[in-house]
C-alpha cells in the first residue's frame, strides 16, 4: 500500500526526471572532466545525481508517507486492526524500499545506457588513433546500483526511526537530512579516532558517533566497481552490504521500539 501511494506522487516523478536529467546531461558537461577519463566523469556525475536525488527521495518521501498516515488518521484505522506497531513501521519501510529500488533501477539503467553509448563512441575514436579503448563494467554498475539501493535504504530506516519519535514532518526531514550529511562525514570521526589523543571523553564521543552513525561513504565505490572492477574484492563488497543491512535493521528496531510507546 505504501509503495502504491508513493509511486503515484508527483514528487517521485519529479525526482526521477531531475535525476535522469543529471545523468543525461553528464555527456554535455564532459568537457569539465578536469583531465580525468571521460567515462569516469560521466559515471561520477551520474553517481552524484543518484545519491543527491535519491537521498532527497529517501528522506522526504519516508517522512511524508509516515506523517501522511498520522495526519490523515489512516493510522487510526490500520492500528485498530490486529497489526502491531512494528509491522506497521516495517510495512512503511518496505514500501519506501521498493520505491527507492525503482528509482535506483531507472537511473542506473539510464546511466548504463549513457556510459555504453559514450564507450562505443570512444572505442571508435581509440581504434582510429591506436589508443586503448576505455570500457566499463555492467556487472560493476549492477553491484553499484545494489549498494546505492542499500545506502538509501539505510537512510530511509534512519528517517523512519526519527519520524517515529518526531511530532512534525519538518523536524523529521531536517533531522534526517542532517543525519545524511553526518553519515557522509562520519569517516572524519573514524580518522580522528585513529590519531593519538589524551582526552578519553573526546575519544568516547567520537567512538560513539562512529558507531551510531553509519559511514555512508563506504558505499561510494562506484568508480572502482564500474570502471576498474577488478580492484574491488568481493569480500569488501560483502562487508559493506552486511554493514548496511545491520544498520538498517538496527534503526528499524529502534524505530519500532519508539513507535510502540507513541500515542496515536
Amino acid at each position: 500500500m505504501t509503495f502504491l501511494e508513493a509511486v503515484r506522487q508527483r514528487f517521485f516523478a519529479f525526482l526521477i526526471v531531475l535525476g535522469a536529467a543529471m545523468v543525461l546531461s553528464s555527456v554535455a558537461f564532459r568537457f569539465l572532466d578536469f583531465g580525468h577519463g571521460e567515462l569516469k566523469f560521466i559515471a561520477d556525475f551520474g553517481f552524484g545525481g543518484m545519491f543527491l536525488f535519491g537521498s532527497i527521495l529517501a528522506v522526504v518521501m519516508t517522512a511524508q508517507l509516515f506523517f501522511a498516515e498520522m495526519d490523515n488518521r489512516t493510522a487510526l484505522t490500520l492500528l485498530a486492526k490486529p497489526l502491531s506497531r512494528a509491522e506497521f513501521l516495517i510495512g512503511k519501510f518496505f514500501g519506501v524500499w521498493m520505491i527507492l529500488g525503482l528509482f535506483v533501477i531507472i537511473l542506473s539503467a539510464l546511466l548504463g545506457l549513457v556510459l555504453w553509448a559514450r564507450a562505443q563512441e570512444l572505442s571508435l575514436l581509440a581504434e582510429q588513433s591506436g589508443r586503448v579503448a576505455p570500457d566499463f563494467s555492467i556487472s560493476g554498475l549492477s553491484i553499484f546500483a545494489l549498494l546505492q539501493w542499500l545506502r538509501l535504504s539505510v537512510v530511509a530506516a534512519i528517517v523512519l526511526a526519527i519520524a517515529a519519535a518526531a511530532r512534525t514532518f519538518l523536524f523529521a526531514v531536517i533531522l534526517g537530512a542532517l543525519t545524511v550529511v553526518a553519515g557522509q562525514l562520519q569517516w572524519i570521526a573514524q580518522d580522528v579516532l585513529l590519531k593519538p589523543t589524551e582526552s578519553v571523553v573526546y575519544k568516547s564521543i567520537l567512538w560513539l558517533t562512529s558507531r551510531i552513525l553509519p559511514n555512508l561513504q563506504q558505499f561510494n565505490i562506484g568508480d572502482a566497481l564500474v570502471l576498474d572492477s577488478g580492484t574491488v574484492a568481493m569480500s569488501s563488497i560483502g562487508w559493506v552490504i552486511l554493514s548496511g543491512l545491520l544498520y538498517a535493521s538496527a534503526y528499524l528496531l529502534l524505530g519500532a521500539l519508539v513507535f510502540r510507546r507513541r500515542e496515536i
Partner: protein
C-alpha cells in the same frame, strides 16, 4: 463472560508542556458493556469519550486501570482481531476502489484467502456499497465514505464494532440507512458501541447509554430507564375537557372523564443530556 467490554478504574493523565503538568482526561472510569447490544457512549467535546475509545482500541495507553475486550486485554492482537472500528471522519486512500480498500482491510484483519471474496461481498452488501465498490474512493460522497468505512470495519466479522460519529455530516437519509445497518449488526449478535453527538439517533438505535462528563461516568443504563421520569406520571384520559385536565384523578372522575392508562412521561435524550452536563434543567 457477558461483557463485550469491561473497563475497570481507568484513568488517563496527559502531560502538558515542559513542566509536565497533568491533564486528567479520564477519571476512574468503570464500565461494563454487555454483549449483543447497541451501546451509546455520549458526552460533550472534551469529556474523555474519544480518549476512552482510543484506550479500548490500544491506540493510547491508560495511566491506570484495566480494559478487557471479549475476555482479552485490550492492547492485544486477539482483542483487535475481534473488533471492528470506524473512526470519526474516516480518511482512506483515494486511489483505491471501495472493494480494494475492504479487501486490504480484510487481509490486515486476518481473513483467510479462501473466505476473502465472500467476506468482502458480504461486508459491501451490508453497507449497501456493492454497486459503487469498483469506483475510486476519491469519487465517493460523505455518506458513501461512511458506509465503506463501515464495510472495512465489519469485513472480518468481528464480535464487537466501535463506531465513532458514524453519521457525522451525513444527510438524514444516509443517517437512517446507517441506523438500519447498526440494527442489522445487532440482530447478527454483534455488540455495537456508538459514539455520537446526534442524540436523536442514539435514542432510536441504542439499547443502553453511558454519559460522560469531565472524564467521569455521569449516568449509565437502559435508554428507556434513564429517560423515564419516575417522579411524574402520565395519564391518558378519554372525554376530558380542557378545564378538567388541571384537576386530580378523583376530580377528573367526578367530571365524567375516564383514565385509561397511567405511564411515566418520557423526556428526550437531548433534554437529559443537557441537564446532566450543564447542571441546569430546561424550562
Amino acid at each position: 463472560m457477558n461483557s463485550a467490554i469491561s473497563v475497570r478504574h481507568l484513568t488517563k493523565d496527559f502531560k502538558i508542556g515542559l513542566r509536565g503538568l497533568k491533564l486528567r482526561a479520564v477519571d476512574d472510569l468503570s464500565l461494563e458493556i454487555p454483549r449483543g447490544q447497541v451501546y451509546g457512549l455520549l458526552g460533550p467535546n472534551g469529556c474523555g469519550k474519544s480518549t476512552t475509545l482510543k484506550i479500548i482500541l490500544g491506540l493510547v495507553s491508560g495511566t491506570t486501570g484495566e480494559i478487557n475486550i471479549l475476555g482479552f486485554p485490550s492492547a492485544t492482537a486477539e482483542a483487535r482481531r475481534r473488533t471492528g472500528f470506524l473512526p470519526e471522519a474516516p480518511y482512506f486512500h483515494k486511489f483505491l476502489s471501495g472493494r480494494e480498500l475492504v479487501r486490504y482491510c480484510a487481509q490486515l484483519s486476518g481473513v483467510p484467502a479462501v473466505k476473502m471474496d465472500d467476506a468482502v461481498d458480504s461486508a459491501l452488501e451490508l453497507a449497501a456499497m456493492t454497486e459503487a465498490s469498483s469506483r475510486p474512493i476519491g469519487t465517493y460522497s460523505k455518506g458513501m465514505l461512511q458506509r465503506i468505512g463501515l464495510a472495512q470495519a465489519i469485513v472480518h466479522d468481528p464480535e464487537l464494532v466501535i463506531l465513532d460519529e458514524p453519521t457525522a455530516g451525513v444527510d438524514p437519509v444516509g443517517a437512517a440507512a446507517i441506523g438500519r445497518m447498526i440494527r442489522a449488526m445487532r440482530d447478527q449478535g454483534k455488540t455495537v458501541v456508538l459514539c455520537s453527538h446526534l442524540l436523536g439517533q442514539v435514542e432510536q438505535v441504542c439499547d443502553r447509554v453511558a454519559i460522560m462528563d469531565h472524564g467521569r461516568l455521569v449516568l449509565e443504563g437502559r435508554v428507556d430507564e434513564v429517560l423515564a421520569q419516575r417522579d411524574r406520571h402520565l395519564m391518558t384520559i378519554e372525554g376530558l375537557t380542557p378545564e378538567a385536565r388541571l384537576a386530580a384523578e378523583s376530580t377528573l372522575a367526578a367530571h365524567g372523564a375516564r383514565v385509561t392508562s397511567v405511564t411515566h412521561p418520557r423526556r428526550s435524550l437531548e433534554e437529559l443530556f443537557r441537564e446532566l452536563v450543564t447542571g441546569s434543567r430546561d424550562a
